[in-house]
């Protein structure tokens, strides 16, 4: 069991953060699409609640993940990658982090501007960031949707790049993020 990151490999906490957040984001996408089209009913409210609780949980996980990252070394990019690829990878990763923070925050803003009470997972009441504000709500909703598409696009790029490294370039960029793959791959 390797806890801390090394120059070659992500440690277990970093891997857990990655895959937990990946799973949550996928669930958030599904919940988000289902809940908006669901007919008005108590179930619709519960779907929204689930989406909000999960989204704010992701916010917390991303903050913890970035803190963990700051106190660890980051595995180096594979040697031999062209400069532009490494730059594109770095840019994509930081955009992903930024969106993973901005998505829940814009969602929280929508909820606040809609003046809905928010009790995370049914136990933690959160105060609203603002009073009712129709204009702000519309703006935050537009931002939330636009960022969803950007995030979805970046995830496709991220997954495609990881698979390319694994299958085509045959390096250990993907493997070193997998908890069950041995040290050094």
């Amino acid at each position: 069991m390797q806890w801390r990151n090394t120059a070659q490999r992500w440690g277990l906490p970093a891997q857990l953060f990655h895959w937990l957040i990946a799973l949550a984001v996928f669930a958030l996408f599904v919940l988000g699409w289902v809940m908006v089209s669901y007919r008005m009913s108590p179930t619709k409210f519960q779907l929204y609640s689930l989406h909000k609780s999960l989204g704010l949980t992701v916010l917390l996980l991303v903050v913890l993940r970035l803190a963990w990252r700051a106190f660890n070394v980051t595995p180096a990019p594979p040697t031999g990658s062209p400069r532009w690829e490494r730059r594109a990878a770095t840019l994509t990763h930081w955009l992903l982090y930024a969106l993973l923070l901005a998505m829940p925050l814009s969602g929280y803003l929508i909820n606040s501007a809609a003046n809905f009470p928010l009790v995370v997972w049914g136990v933690l009441p959160l105060p609203n960031l603002t009073g009712e504000n129709e204009q702000l709500q519309a703006w935050a909703e537009a931002a939330h949707l636009a960022m969803f598409w950007l995030l979805a696009g970046l995830i496709v790029l991220h997954v495609a790049a990881a698979l390319r490294h694994h299958w085509l370039l045959k390096d250990d960029v993907l493997r070193r993020m997998l908890p069950w793959c041995g040290r050094g791959g």
Partner: protein, 182 residues
Amino acid sequence: MRRILCAALLLLTVLPAWAAEWRIEHGASRLGFVATQQGGRFEGHFRQWQATMRFDPQRLDESLFDVRIDVASITTGSNDRDPYLPSKDWFFTKQFPTATFRTTGFSAKGGDDYVAQGVVTIRGVSQTIDLPFTWVVDGDQAKMHAETVLDRTVFGVGQGEFAATDVVGRDVRVVVDLTLRR
């Protein structure tokens, strides 16, 4: 002539003396409530309502509150919630535009505390309630504060699936703050 005048004056003093009628200062009065949604509280109030308020602690027998509320004027400060409240599932304001509260009696509880017995009617359903309130007079002005809890399911506010109380809470705390002038 003088005798008649005397008799008339005497008669005036024994005529039923109505409890004072109070005029509501709507700008400083609020007919509000606190409800819950998935464990979180939200507040609302009615923008349009009228009331006949006759109250005199010395003449509780002649006192009367007669309140008529334009239910469609409900607001909870949320564009995601308010459009649904007048609908059939909730207040069905097309069929039941007015909610009412009319007192049938009063009792004094000491100090400025009183209880009004009355009938509240929402969505065509009537329920007898006790409404505890305080009534503080300062010169020509009176301040009234009343709170009570209503069970929304009794009145059918929340039909079908919404009759279940896990998403929208059963209890609605009614909070009345009035400033009145005589």
